[in-house]
């Protein structure tokens, strides 16, 4: 299924296992997927489905006792499995970026926002002057739609002075300013209010359209993924249950996906009992649909 010719990221048979004293826990068990340039791929699943681990694997962030194996893990033609840590580090931040659920944990609390952004730029490009870095940081903040009169204020603010939505914008500004080819967003809007969530998604949407970057959007929210992404990968217990075009998600065939959709209460739905998802043990073993 990863035969897309212009695929930016190709994953084939990815496995992640954790060795614990009580046995080996398999978090990801044979996931294959691809992300093309300019494509928004949603990875959706419940907690424990392995969706976050899949994202972290791409960035090489699985740490012992975790172990990662894959038949293929290539990013823009480079094999990420055999890449030495030093080159992986160069790749991360410049061409591969990640944003997480809670920006307050990702920003350094004792460094002003502007300084953090310029540091990131100057680490990536040591020849950059202080002034040039500042100009680029202000431009990056403006690009995530921070109102013109607020940009300087955000630049000089401490992370705790930012609201959740603004913090997430700053994270996005930092991550996308270096022009990554692939952005992995792990529940980037789950901690935000719905209206703020829409704003952050609009910013991501624009970035994908304007720069042609690939986006791997990890979320538990089926409706959100269906309305925001181009393609959706549904995961359960470390496996891919089904992959389909986002527009077709509501016509999904796999019983797991259908069960999840049915379990969602809806504003226009009836007041009766919600259908409860019956888990089929066969989903743990069966080949992806």
């Amino acid at each position: 299924m990863a035969e897309d010719t212009n695929a930016l990221l190709e994953i084939e048979d990815l496995r992640v296992a954790f060795r614990t004293p009580t046995g080996v826990v398999e978090a990801v068990r044979g996931v294959s997927l691809a992300v093309a340039r300019g494509e928004r791929v949603g990875i959706v699943g419940e907690s424990g489905s392995g969706k976050s681990m899949t994202g972290r694997s791409v960035l090489g962030l699985i740490r012992p006792p975790g172990e990662m194996r894959a038949a293929r893990l290539s990013f823009d033609g480079q094999d990420l499995r055999s890449l030495p840590e030093r080159r992986m580090r160069r790749l991360r931040g410049r061409r591969l970026a990640m944003i997480l659920q809670d920006p307050t944990y990702s920003l350094n609390p004792v460094m002003r926002v502007g300084r953090q952004i310029t540091e990131a730029f100057r680490t990536a490009d040591p020849s950059l002057s202080r002034r040039a870095a500042r100009d680029r940081a202000l431009a990056a903040l403006a690009r995530v739609r921070i109102p013109r009169h607020d940009v300087a204020r955000v630049y000089d603010a401490w992370p705790h002075e930012l609201s959740g939505g603004m913090g997430q914008r700053v994270m996005i500004a930092m991550m996308v300013a270096l022009g990554p080819d692939l952005l992995i967003a792990d529940e980037p809007t789950s901690a935000l209010d719905v209206t703020v969530q829409m704003q952050v998604l609009a910013i991501l949407d624009d970035l994908v359209r304007e720069t042609g970057m690939g986006l791997m959007f990890i979320s538990h929210d089926l409706n959100l993924v269906a309305s925001f992404c181009d393609r959706v990968v549904v995961m359960y217990a470390g496996r891919v249950m089904e992959t389909c075009a986002a527009a077709d998600l509501h016509a999904a065939r796999h019983p797991y996906t259908r069960g999840l959709l049915a379990a969602l209460p809806s504003i226009r739905g009836s007041h009766g009992d919600l259908p409860v998802l019956a888990r089929d043990p066969g989903w743990l073993e069966g080949a992806p649909a």
Binding site: E46, S47, R145, I146, P147, D150, R153, V154, A157, E161, L162, S163, G164, G165, M166, A191, L192, D193, V194, T195, V196, Q197, M198, Q199, L201, A202, I203, D205, H220, L222, N223, L224, A226, S227, F228, G259, L260, A263, L264, P265, S266, I267, R268, G269, H271, D273, L274, P275, V276, L277
Partner: protein, 268 residues
Amino acid sequence: MIAIEDLQVTFQAGARTVRAVRGVSLSVAPGEVFGLVGESGSGKSTVLRALSGLNPDWTGRMVVAGEDLPPGRRRPKAFHKRVQMVFQDPFASLHPRQTVDIALSEPLRIHRMTDDMDGRIERVLTDVGLDRSFRFRYPHQLSGGQRQRVAIARALILEPAILLLDEPTSALDVSVQAEILNLLRRLRAEHDLTMMLVSHNLAVVGHMCGRMAVMKEGRVVEPLSVAQLRAGTVADPYTRQLLRAAEGYDRAVAAETLDGSPGFGGGA
């Protein structure tokens, strides 16, 4: 069953004074499920905490089951027997060192309902859909959904008339949320409970409640019936915004909200 008039709650956060609730009035009939919807910082949880007695610093008038509640003082035991609460995070609302059995027998001991303790505990466990094998487990041996069922059982064991629900499913997976919502609906019918449900999720409130109030910045912006919600006939622009956001991502709607949004304060 519940009547709140001009409720005001003010917090002292360092040097700043935060007016979390600014004049909320509402009433809930016996047997009704009433919803409070809003985003973080709207004051919806604060209303619930003031009503439950967790937050004694408020002004206004609150009447529960015909009884006037004075602000500032500890509520009598009889009040707690009548009004119980279920919290958002089932990982934080159970004592990590207490078995289900202890969590359920504590309220009985406090209210001297020690006759037939075993029977009461087993009945309430069955009621929330847990079999007796769960009785002597510790919270870390339970899944999130099972923990929330224990929390509901702990609230129900005192046989209250009113159940306050503070985002009872927002920490749970979708499939578990459906199970808990079904359970709450069944319990309401079987035990003739009056419920007040606080949530940021319009769909959950719409599914559970007959009437609701939309809150923003400490005020009720619009009282709504479920019929109005379904038909989409809402008057307030903020409610309309929430309603459209609940439908999923829409480029056009998002563009509308993107300009002129506040960047500071009111952390999400």
